[in-house]
Structures are given as structure tokens and as C-alpha cells.
């Protein structure tokens, strides 16, 4: 067994760990190899022991991946990659778009004007797509499973807001426009297939699966709400409740805003799985509760808004029963 090569490869796999933490992990594995090579139970001579030990070690890649899953050395970077673009960067982009396109003029279907929506969807697609690539480069499933669903939903929103399949859609103007429609549809199908594949490959980790599926249920809930909104038959009339208790510089501060600030911190920073589940629950519950209270007159909406919370609770129960973090004994 080539000890030096194995340890070098492991060191490369542990990139991202604090140097002291990485040195301690390498030392623990180096001691294991040292013990194995000196153990007469493993073989009569050094080559025989080395051969048996090599088979027993498993690959440096698997060992590094296992240790990374437990210690999550890059969790602060993961948090920033989610928190900054989603909670902070988005607002300057919206303001710039508003200034350029005069985007906040109300239309029949939306509080935003059409050019504003079209531009914002495309810019968010570029931003989210870039974050998907960064997540891939960093091999961070926590970040990938956050941004890939957001990217899919952005493309979905773009397709369904432009409604190019309707003859009266203002976007059905020429051949190039038709090709663009086709491009977005193929991209959407490709991204959904890719997400489905990733979910299948990572099916052992219920936490990640719930993280990826939650935005779809929340978006579905919002779409269902928007269908009923024009009736003005909610507990607050046309207005949905916001449960705000303060306004800071014109921006509301309420239950929803606080939950949106806190859930990524719990989910991305904590090493304890239960806290991470609590983060997901905090992601789903306040918005669901607000909308359930508002739509008591529509049982179907209540059911739609119960589903995100139910998904988190069922996921948590499955996770408790599966002991997903424990590796298999089958080598």
C-alpha cells in the first residue's frame, strides 16, 4: 500500500476543512495505516499486510466524502451562497429593474408591468443558473438542492407568464420567438429530469429531498392562491395577511420575514440534523399558517397549504426511522 499517496489523496479530498481539523483527521487515518502495517494478524510480511490493508481502507474519495458529510466544513460558505443572493442581492436587482423599466406600474394580472417581469425572470435565471454552477463546482448538495429548484421555478414562471402558446400572446411575433419558446421548454424538461435523477441518487438523504421539493409545493400554493385572489373572499378581503409588526425604512418586518431570515441559518449552519429539520419547518410553516388562516373559506386552499408542512413532518418521521447518516456495513 502506498501510504503517502493515499494520505495525499485524502488531504486533497478534505479541501475546505480548517487546516488544524484536516491535520487531525489525516493523523488519525495515518495512525490507522501504521497500526495495520505493523499488525501480524493482517499478514506475514509487509507487502501482504499492505495489500490487505489497502482493500480494508476504502477509497480516499469515499472516506473524504463521508467525513465532509459529517463535519460540513464549508457550511458558512454554503449559507452565504444561499443567503446573500436570495435574501439580499435580489432587492438591488429588483430596484435597478424598477428604475430601468418603470416596473411597478400595476396591470390587470400583476402588480408588476410586463417588461419588468420578463426582464426579472431572465436576470434571475442567469443569477440562479450561475449559483447552480458554483454549487456543482464546490460539490455542495446543500446549495445545489436549493438553487436548482429555484432555477426550474424561474424558467417555469417565465414560460407561464409569457403564455406563448396563446395566439394573442404579445411574444408570438416571429420565428425567433418560437425558437426561444422551444429553448425554454427543452431547458425546463432537462432541468426537471436532472433534478429527478439527483433526487433518486440521493434518495437515502430525506433532508435533502425535502429541501428540494419544498419550493415546488410553496409555488403551487401561491399559484392556487392567485387563482382565488380576485374573489376578494379572504379573511382580509383582497389583501392576504402579512402578520407584520414593524416597518423599517418602508420594508415590512413580520413573522414571514423573520422566518425567511432564520431558516437558512438553522439549516445551513447547524451540524445537528434535528436543528436542520427545524430550519425546514420554519421555512414552510409561517407562510402556510398565514395563508391557511386567510383562506378558511376555501377548504381546497387550506389543503394545498397544509402540504408543505406535511412534507416536512413526514420527511422528518422517515428520517428518524431510517438512521440515514449511518453507513452500511456492506463493503
Amino acid at each position: 500500500m502506498n501510504t503517502e499517496k493515499y494520505l495525499d489523496q485524502l488531504k486533497a479530498e478534505l479541501k475546505g476543512f480548517h487546516p488544524e481539523e484536516r491535520a487531525a483527521l489525516i493523523e488519525e487515518v495515518a495512525a490507522h495505516i501504521e497500526d495495520g502495517l505493523a499488525d501480524p494478524q493482517l499478514g506475514n510480511d509487509l507487502p501482504e499486510r499492505g495489500q490487505k490493508l489497502e482493500a480494508e481502507m476504502g477509497s480516499p474519495h469515499d472516506l473524504g466524502r463521508g467525513l465532509k458529510e459529517i463535519h460540513r466544513p464549508n457550511r458558512w460558505v454554503d449559507l452565504l451562497l444561499v443567503f446573500v443572493p436570495y435574501e439580499i442581492l435580489k432587492y438591488p436587482i429588483l430596484i435597478i429593474l424598477t428604475l430601468i423599466l418603470g416596473g411597478l406600474a400595476q396591470t390587470n394580472s400583476s402588480v408588476f408591468s410586463q417588461p419588468y417581469l420578463m426582464a426579472s425572470n431572465r436576470i434571475f435565471f442567469l443569477l440562479y443558473g450561475l449559483l447552480v454552477l458554483i454549487a456543482l463546482r464546490r460539490r455542495s448538495l446543500d446549495v445545489l438542492f436549493f438553487w436548482l429548484p429555484q432555477t426550474i421555478l424561474t424558467v417555469f414562471a417565465l414560460i407561464f407568464r409569457e403564455k406563448r402558446w396563446l395566439p394573442e400572446s404579445p411574444f408570438n411575433t416571429n420565428m425567433a420567438s418560437m425558437f426561444e419558446s422551444l429553448f425554454w421548454l427543452i431547458l425546463l424538461a432537462g432541468m426537471i429530469s436532472w433534478l429527478a435523477y439527483l433526487l433518486w441518487v440521493n434518495r437515502h438523504d430525506v433532508l435533502l429531498i425535502v429541501l428540494a421539493l419544498l419550493p415546488f409545493l410553496i409555488t403551487f400554493g401561491n399559484m392556487a392562491l392567485s387563482q382565488y385572489r380576485s374573489t376578494g373572499n379572504f379573511s382580509g378581503g383582497y389583501q392576504l395577511p402579512d402578520w407584520n409588526f414593524a416597518f423599517i425604512g418602508g420594508f415590512p418586518l413580520g413573522v414571514y420575514q423573520i422566518s425567511m431570515l432564520v431558516w437558512p441559518i438553522l439549516f445551513y449552519i447547524s451540524r445537528h440534523r434535528q436543528m436542520r429539520w427545524l430550519g425546514l419547518l420554519l421555512n414552510a410553516t409561517p407562510l402556510a399558517l398565514m395563508n391557511i388562516v386567510a383562506s378558511m373559506r376555501y377548504p381546497q386552499l387550506v389543503v394545498v397549504w397544509i402540504t408543505p408542512v406535511t412534507l416536512v413532518v413526514i420527511g422528518w418521521l422517515i428520517d428518524q426511522s431510517k438512521h440515514t447518516r449511518q453507513p452500511s456495513l456492506i463493503t
Binding site: A31, M57, L63, L67, E69, T331
Partner: protein, 119 residues
């Protein structure tokens, strides 16, 4: 994954706790002890053992301490904690009940009885 593999998968921490209940040990010794006590039935790679040990350490089931008394490198020696002993005791009771019921259903003898040590 077969049913048996699934059962074995869930038992990893309990096997490690069972071994560490005999006394503190480092990773390599745990691996050898597991192999010896199960007569080769249970075996695992280092790539599976160390993440499991570190997860259990984070869950406060075991505690790791560095030992500098032997060899070129320091060894991280793991010791079972009070929470680990409690988990082991409840795990043993669960597995005994499971094994007894399984044997009963399969029509075999109560072979599982007495095979697991109490701690």
C-alpha cells in the same frame, strides 16, 4: 438493498457501542475487534468506520481523546459516554425483542435469547 442489508445498516452504531463498552479503543482496534467478535461476519472499510465514529462523537454517544504513547502518530482513542451506554442498553432490548419475535414468526428456536450481553 435486501432486508438483511437494511437491518445490518441500521445496527452499525450499536455494534461500535457494543465494542466500546468493553473499554476505550482507537479506530483500527475497533475494526479488528468487530471482525474477531463476529468471526468475520461483520466487516467494514475505514471509509465507513471513521465517518460513523465522528457522527457518534457529534451525537455525544462516544468521546475521542488523543493518545500520544505509541508509534509515530497520535491515536484518537474513543470511549463510550453515559448517553452511549443508555443507547446501547435500549438498543439491546429492542434488538432482543425483534430477534425473538422474528424467530417466533419463522418457527425457529429462541436462538436470540442470551446472545446479547447486558451492560
Amino acid at each position: 438493498m435486501t432486508d438483511l442489508q437494511q437491518v445490518r445498516k441500521g445496527s452499525t452504531p450499536l455494534l461500535i457501542l457494543g465494542i466500546l463498552s468493553q473499554g476505550p479503543m482507537h479506530g483500527y482496534a475497533i475494526m479488528r475487534e468487530l471482525e474477531k467478535r463476529s468471526e468475520g461476519y461483520f466487516n467494514m472499510t475505514a471509509a465507513l468506520l471513521y465517518p460513523a465514529l465522528h457522527q457518534m462523537e457529534q451525537d455525544d454517544l462516544i468521546q475521542g481523546k488523543w493518545d500520544e504513547s505509541k508509534g509515530m502518530h497520535r491515536r484518537k482513542v474513543y470511549e463510550i459516554t453515559r448517553a452511549g451506554l443508555e443507547r446501547l442498553a435500549s438498543g439491546q432490548a429492542d434488538w432482543r425483542r425483534f430477534a425473538e419475535q422474528l424467530f417466533k414468526m419463522l418457527g425457529g428456536a429462541t436462538a436470540a435469547s442470551g446472545e446479547v450481553n447486558e451492560h
